[in-house]
Subunit: 402 residues, 2 copies
């Protein structure tokens, strides 16, 4: 039992569901002990049993649950700046592909690099997120597309949390793209499913993901991956309806997925299905912005059906080289017209749910003491500001890490 | 005379005009002495007279000219997060105005605050830019709209450079908005021109700016301000063609303005006029993004007529709460389809020109040793990355400041 301490001179956006849009408490007290939140409420209501606990005044800062980036690809080799530049200089996708661009270049770089090299780069990316008050990061495989490299990516992802104050949740994304020389079904049989078995046997998989799209895998191929996940007792999630509607969202709902991600082309019917299955819709405005997508995700349908909406960076080297979750929140408001309260719920409470985590995402007794403290006048400022970082304090499991 | 030293193990994007898109030198040496760049070139060509100078190896980093943010409003009171939130919750502009929102709220906050309070906030904003390798920041007045507060804002702007390693260039923007209780012409006569005289007499004005728009001042009103600037020997610049085309760009060209800024609604004819007057077109993608503008500035016309293009944050609390010049570069590429080389020229060489500064903006002998050093594999990465800051070193007048 570590001694309890109390954060004072603090406001708290608890993000408690049903407690107003932010669950805001002015002049709050937050009692932390044993890595958990022991008590939170108005300071004047602080129970006398905490009278002797140490006070840590926070200068009027705003506490929120630490942020959660529930969709990233931060383990990968290289970058695609050259391809970005070629495209802006007028090169066609075909020309870029001939020059070795596209996902193939990331797969090649990721296969070539050692675990140490991949980890060094992934740590820098994790550090950028942690510096913004992020305490939980989901990390996907999917740039290996061979058994060995898929496992290597997941091992690197697991290593991040041994070196940094952060929780990593891994998603196996063997069904990310069809590698050259393969036909999709044979790739699923010969590489993806065996890789999933091997990764699971090593304890490397927290969830199973896929990319359901015309340029990747169809619903029947994804269903085979999901069936394997089910037989291994693993939850699923899916990149669905990003570029077109081919039924991925409905499939995700059918399998009770934790989340359906992107969902620009999802329909009202899809939203109803997600609601029925308790699946979170994860919106990824960084990719929308980068690829000049114009079809907006059906935010109002998600609201109408009470589908929880999460917001993430989708940090990846191709369609979303976005290294800021705060900026993803601003983009979600500016591009998708989420309210600032929805954006903050999307990187806290609903992001936790998208990862199947019940021990974090709001400030409430019994939950992990993962907290971010901000120099802002009100919670909406976190989404209003663009490219700024007002973090002044950060607790991970009750331990100050910033 | 301070002793010279040499940056080695470095690549240099000199941004020298006509020297290739980035003027890139692999394995470069940069000799710095007396606050200036003494020599730059391939390391193997280093003259023997520098044989004994100290070496400062830079670990393979990429040197660029320090960045220049040539259009900001970083001196202001308060923020407009609440208005941002109200709008996303469906409030009309009228309702927001009735609740005290809009530019009026910033004017009120700026009038109320002391110089010390305004400076404290401005320094934090300057620090965010400096942390991204910015060494020169333009700062405008324009949230006073009375003589006293316009001068206060400019004094605060000047104070920034006494406290931080940065050059500040001030622009008098008395003609920013028509304050309540005034008619535009009377405001120009009774407030704007007297404030300009007084600010100039105090040495507070480096250039004179205006907002030429249906909701602000027309060309004849701006012309009167520009005439006064001319009689005081001050250069001019203009917010022109942001929301409509009412002739601001042509007016700016007629007065030989340093820059015409925003210019979403400028035409091919306007571009030809800017070219003839040697005026820089400053594009401000943060405002375009925030206000959901859809009319793109005529980038191809600027290219065709050889109009220099600069890129800036337009950091202001209403239409562009954007605190990252690197993000402005990414937005210029993603939203306006500038090439990464154009974006970097836009925050170095052309930004210097937009401020009338001939002593900076490229890496060349005789210029100020204002340099940024980045952990990137190629210059395009600076624009490709979103919401990330790869700065590893920063020299201001030859002195390391990061």
């Amino acid at each position: 039992m570590s001694a309890s301490f109390i954060l004072t001179e603090i406001r708290a956006a608890t993000m408690k569901p049903g407690d107003g849009s932010y669950g805001l408490i002015e002049d709050a007290a937050i009692v932390i002990g044993d890595g958990l939140i022991q008590w939170v409420g108005p300071r004047q209501d602080l129970p006398t049993r905490y009278a002797n606990a140490a006070r840590k005044p926070q200068n009027g800062g705003l506490a929120t649950p630490a942020l959660i980036d529930c969709h990233t690809h931060i383990v990968h080799g290289g970058n695609r700046a050259r391809e970005f530049e070629m495209r802006l200089n007028g090169a066609s996708y075909e020309k870029i592909a001939r020059a070795g661009g596209g996902i193939v270049s990331t797969v090649s770089a990721t296969r070539l690099q050692t675990e140490e090299m991949l980890l060094e780069q992934a740590l820098r990316r994790a550090d950028a997120l942690i510096a913004e008050g992020v305490s939980t990061i989901e990390v996907k495989s999917g740039y290996g597309l061979d058994i060995e490299t898929e496992l290597k990516m997941l091992r690197v992802a697991r290593s991040i949390e041994r070196q940094r104050p952060v929780t990593i949740r891994t998603s196996f994304l063997g069904a990310h793209a069809v590698p050259e020389g393969y036909e999709a079904d044979r790739y699923i049989d010969d590489v993806c499913l065996p890789a999933l078995n091997a990764a699971h046997a090593e304890g490397l998989v927290d969830a199973v993901d896929g990319f359901c799209e015309g340029i990747a895998f169809d619903t029947s191929q994804i269903a085979r991956v999901f069936d394997r996940a089910r037989s291994l007792g693993l939850p699923v999630k899916l990149h669905a309806e990003q570029l077109s509607n081919i039924g991925g969202t409905a499939l995700a709902a059918k399998y009770g997925a934790l989340s359906a991600d992107h969902v620009e082309y999802a329909t009202d019917t899809d939203a109803a299905a997600l609601a029925a299955s308790g699946t979170v819709a994860v919106v990824l405005p960084g990719a929308f912005y980068t690829i000049h997508e114009t079809n907006l995700p059906p935010i109002q349908a998600f609201r109408d059906h009470d589908v929880p909406i999460a917001v993430a960076t989708d940090w990846n080297p191709g369609s979303s080289p976005l290294g800021s979750l705060l900026l993803a929140m601003n983009m979600a408001c500016t591009l998708f017209r989420l309210t600032p309260a929805e954006a903050l719920a999307g990187t806290t409470r609903n992001a936790a749910r998208a990862l199947g985590l019940e021990d974090r995402g709001t400030i409430a007794p019994g939950l992990r003491a993962d907290l971010a403290i901000w120099d802002v006048s009100e919670p909406s400022e976190l989404s209003y500001r663009i490219g700024q970082n007002p973090l002044t304090g950060h607790y991970f499991g009750g331990v100050r890490c910033n």
